[in-house]
């Protein structure tokens, strides 16, 4: 920056300093970018390590250097730093997109293929379970895990939504003065603490709670998982609902009170009615969050190979724990070309990668469920919230 001074300077700066003010048009970035890429390809080709990923990576690093040097010569140091930082910031975003794209691509490429190609019929993966599937049998499905995931999430929601919603109502409508205010502050703090509970600790709690009162130390059942999950779900429901309830204008409540409507009826018919879209969205997002939780379920519900509808008796399979189990099984041994199901004597082809394939397919199933929930949440907030402005 040129700094004006009072005293005459020995060598006054030139009136026109082209370097300081001239900005180059954006397409110069393309030149330097291409130059970086070309040099990267040349270097990698010589070194014998040429691949698309490595070329882009090295090309980007070289582009940082080239773009900076070029700008330093043509535009001056300040704009050169600006260019460099702009490139770095864009690079940071590109780096973050990389895992997202590659993960979604892997899940779709490997998971969807397995779901659609399942034998004997398409989508049999979603309607069969794992009973009698042994070794490298290229069969089996996740019906039992889908049932388990939906049941456990349903029960977790049945516990969390009333508790979370009433806590939010307490915080917004009742905790305004006296001891209730103090209690409200305490609850807000504890909800914050609960938000930070590691999921594995929630699982340990679910486990410790039940084995403390059960004679059998190895007891595992669906309800234990639901309790553990609700510990993670309640704070999310409270936070989201509280935010939504606070958005309801006080005028509406006061209008209701002025008409003589009792407080509880005001809350039910006015406050909840007004905030219903936001509440539903928040709760759906909370469900989407816990439906993919793995660690608590690993500890509390165990694993089985067939459908179990009873939350209070016996182990249950869920999609996340199923993914983990299949992944841990790793590659299968294929002694012969076929595997026979000992239960119904069906014969399946043997595939070495069958376990990993099933894990990807289950991951695809889980992501589809999570995405559907997210889309539902967005649709609800999109279609129901404008009512406020009417």
């Amino acid at each position: 920056m040129s700094t004006p001074t009072d005293t005459p300077v020995k060598n006054p700066p030139a009136l026109h300093r082209p370097r300081d003010e001239r900005r180059l048009p954006w397409y110069h970035l393309v030149f330097t970018g291409l130059a970086g890429l070309l040099v990267a390809v040349a270097v990698l080709a010589v070194a014998g390590a040429l691949s698309i990923a490595s070329a882009i990576l090295l090309g980007f690093v070289l582009h940082l250097l080239f773009g900076w040097a070029y700008s330093l010569v043509r535009e001056g140091p300040r704009w050169a730093t600006d260019r460099l930082m702009t490139l770095l910031v864009i690079g940071a975003f590109a780096i973050a997109m990389f895992p997202l794209v590659s993960l979604l691509w892997s899940v779709i490429a490997r998971g969807m293929t397995r779901v659609l190609a399942a034998k004997p019929t398409t989508l049999a993966f979603w309607t069969t379970d794992m009973s009698g599937i042994i070794g490298g049998a290229d069969a089996g499905g996740v019906a039992h895990a889908i049932v388990g995931t939906l049941l456990i999430t349903l029960w977790a929601s049945l516990i969390s939504i009333p508790v979370g919603l009433f806590t939010a109502i307490f915080l917004v409508e009742y905790a305004d003065q006296g001891w209730k205010r103090t209690l409200g502050k305490g609850v807000t703090f504890l909800v914050d603490v609960m938000t930070g509970i590691p999921s594995i600790v929630a699982g340990l709690f679910g486990l410790a709670l039940f084995i403390a009162f059960m004679p059998d130390q190895s007891v595992r059942m669906g309800i234990m998982g639901a309790v553990a999950l609700s510990l993670l779900m309640i704070p999310t429901v409270v936070r989201n609902s509280e935010e939504m309830l606070r958005l309801v204008p006080t005028d509406l409540r006061e209008a209701a009170y002025a008409l003589g409507v009792p407080k509880w009826l005001t809350i039910v018919k006015v406050v909840l009615r007004t905030a219903i879209a936001g509440l539903t969205t928040g709760i759906t997002l909370a469900i989407a969050r816990v439906i993919g939780e793995t660690a608590p379920l690993l500890l509390t519900v165990g694993m089985v190979t067939s459908v179990n509808w009873n939350m209070f008796d016996g182990r249950m399979a869920t999609l996340p724990t199923f993914i983990n189990q299949q992944y841990r099984n790793g590659n299968a041994n294929c002694m012969s070309d076929t595997v026979t199901n000992p239960v119904n004597q069906e014969v399946y082809a043997c595939s070495i990668s069958t376990n990993i394939d099933r894990a990807w397919a289950a991951a695809f199933t889980l992501i589809v469920i999570v995405m559907v929930l997210n889309i539902i949440a967005r649709l609800i907030s999109h279609y129901f919230s404008p009512k406020l402005s009417r």
Partner: protein
């Protein structure tokens, strides 16, 4: 609703009045339910603390430190796990913080306004992916891809202790687990930083630009100083998440129990959460109690980290 005839009653009725029993009933039921839910939160957290403590007592009592007999040592068991947990989380943060701040700046100050919301949503999508899917992706897809990088680092930078040792394929080492952890905490740090950066006073930014500052100079002199507290708090929240994350470590790391700094070596480290998840199925009695003790350590660790984060947020919040 019949409102007209209830108005006088409402104005007359004092808290103890019995004039409209049904209505008062509804009110008291509702108030009891609400306060009860609030209290239930207290009870639940107290129960978590109490159960974790009482269930871990058998391990403490039976340990070398307490009983004097050399059966097993509580510290020798827990310390490497704590070390592994903290090391993995720290490396994840070192990777994630610069990238997250970059993304947050990109979305808040560099990207075209029309795109910004959509780009922010894409980063939020990263947070919606279940952790077990990250574990699967990391274990199957990412680990082989990282191998050349590790070999390169080990060959040319092996003199740095962090990259030293003898890495062997498959690279189920702490570094791989940390990379996946970094991806998982990225959306959290980005979301909070982005909010803080967007709250920078518009006038200050415009003043800097009017003085002839470039965009980067504006960010360096106005946006970053303003958002520093927010970024620190966001990083602490990310740290809390990284410390407690189970699946990425469980599915990627080949476990070990040493204090090795060689993050590229396989079978040297383990984290508390992954250790609990892998051992709880067979554990019972004192073993189970030992696992619950490590769970308590993790709980306290994340609680302290989150408390510091909240304190920073609360301290820097009202200024805006």
């Amino acid at each position: 609703m019949s409102t007209a005839d209830t108005t006088p009653e409402k104005t007359r009725s004092s808290p103890g009045s019995m004039s409209s029993g049904g209505r008062r009933m509804g009110d008291s039921v509702f108030s009891v339910l609400s306060i009860g839910s609030g209290l239930l939160i207290f009870v639940t957290l107290a129960a978590v603390a109490i159960f974790l403590t009482t269930e871990s007592i058998p391990a403490v009592v039976a340990s070398q430190e307490f009983s004097g007999t050399a059966e097993f040592s509580l510290i020798e068991y827990a310390a490497p796990l704590v070390f592994g947990t903290v090391l993995a989380a720290a490396i994840a943060l070192i990777i994630a913080i610069p990238i997250s701040v970059g993304i947050a700046l990109f979305i808040s100050h560099f990207a075209p306004r029309r795109l910004a919301a959509g780009l922010g949503y894409m980063i939020d999508l990263l947070a919606a992916v279940p952790s077990v899917v990250y574990g699967l992706w990391g274990g199957v897809w990412l680990v082989p891809k990282l191998e050349p990088l590790y070999v390169f680092l080990n060959t040319y930078f092996g003199w740095i202790p962090l990259f030293g040792g003898e890495p062997t394929a498959p690279m189920r080492n702490l570094a791989s687990a940390s990379v996946v952890l970094a991806v998982m905490v990225l959306p959290i740090i980005t979301a909070v930083s982005r909010e803080v950066f967007l709250q920078t006073p518009r006038l200050q930014e415009e003043a800097a630009l009017a003085l002839g500052a470039t965009r980067w100079e504006t960010i360096r002199t106005v946006v970053l100083p303003f958002g520093r507290g927010g970024v620190v708090a966001a990083s602490m929240l990310g740290l809390g998440r990284a410390l407690g994350e189970t699946m990425a470590v469980l599915m990627i790391l080949a476990p070990g129990a040493t204090f090795s700094l060689h993050i590229l070596e396989v079978g040297r480290h383990n984290s508390i959460a992954a250790n609990i998840a892998s051992k709880s199925a067979e554990a019972s009695g004192v073993d189970m109690s030992l696992l619950i003790f490590t769970g308590l350590v993790l709980f306290v660790l994340t609680f302290v980290i989150n408390a510091i984060a909240r304190w920073i947020v609360a301290r820097s919040g009202p200024k805006s």
